[in-house]
Symmetry: C2
Subunit: 194 residues, 2 copies
Amino acid sequence: MIDRAERKTFILEIAQNLFAKFGLAKTTIDDIAKKARMGKASIYYYFKSKESIFQEVIDKEGRTLQDKILVAVNTEKSPQEKMQAYFITRMVALKDLINYYSALRDEYLDHYSFVTKARQSFDVFETTLISNILQEGIQSGDFKVENAALAAEAILAALKGFEFQWTIEIPAEQIETNINTLLKILFKGIEKRS
Amino acid sequence: MIDRAERKTFILEIAQNLFAKFGLAKTTIDDIAKKARMGKASIYYYFKSKESIFQEVIDKEGRTLQDKILVAVNTEKSPQEKMQAYFITRMVALKDLINYYSALRDEYLDHYSFVTKARQSFDVFETTLISNILQEGIQSGDFKVENAALAAEAILAALKGFEFQWTIEIPAEQIETNINTLLKILFKGIEKRS
DNA sequence: ATTCGACTATTTTAGTTATTTAATCGAAAA
DNA sequence: TTTTCGATTAAATAACTAAAATAGTCGAAT
């Protein structure tokens, strides 16, 4: 029992890579075992099932994403900068967390309850975060929003729309440019100020 | 050759209903023929294939949607009202055009080239329309946007994000309320004006 | 405590056959 | 001549089976 956790992490990282490359279905326990230079049975010494390995990978990537976002947001001071940090970090990070991303999107994973839970949990996380930033901005006098909760939903829906277009097709650098255009509209609106 | 077009329309409407209820795969030519009180072969007298019937249904619904949007937009005077008319008409109308909607979304229809074309064509239509409204607003002094084309893309991506959430889950009436919240953010932004 | 080889039970896949459906054709009706 | 339809063919789909691959177990070895 010296470093069971370490060993689990080791296996998890290998599984993470294989899942990212081949997807859940095409990755076999034998694949994972071979790459870890172990017998298949040894994998089962650490994990209950293939499903549970995938679940841990998803959970891990989810935590990573949330951590990254929170760190990025908390580094900033003004609500505007926080919102910007959130937008950009979310989009750029999601590109790398392929398993998590596919768990959020792929329909054929719907029947895994932990996938549904991960989605909901992340949704709550995002809605709450946006809502908090908005409210902070309202209190500090930076923002003026009637219904912060509904606005948060609207902003999240917009982000998801972009995610769909961009995460796949567009290079990471351009994301930043486009996000900033979006942010300017979000902050200033499109109406001319008199 | 008296009213071949009329007869085609008749069949098309029946097909449209069946496709909407059961989807492309589950609707057979016999189903269409029976409901039209014809022999199956008669259907083929008017249409080349099942695929072509579906294509015409899609095209028809696409035109309907575009017409509705254009009429709604052109009825309005100010760019703000035009944008509002566009948002609401798009969302409400799309709910009823089930076949067109599923053609825009369902992956398993990807391999039909006419589906891909319909998507692209509608995308161009929307981007152009938004861009036009923006530019009109800029000229009239109502709007202030740096890059109208990029802004149009951003707005469309946001709309698509909503579409995904709403078209299925939310009653038509509430769409209007939520759209108006979105519009307010789009017009005014979230920053407090000093 | 950890690893693994050998084993079993499920699940997938590949290949076959039966059934359904799309599409054609020629004759008949209008 | 235009339209309809029954009968037929061709193609696609579904249902089934056998073979292969894979998930998961167990007891012995380290």
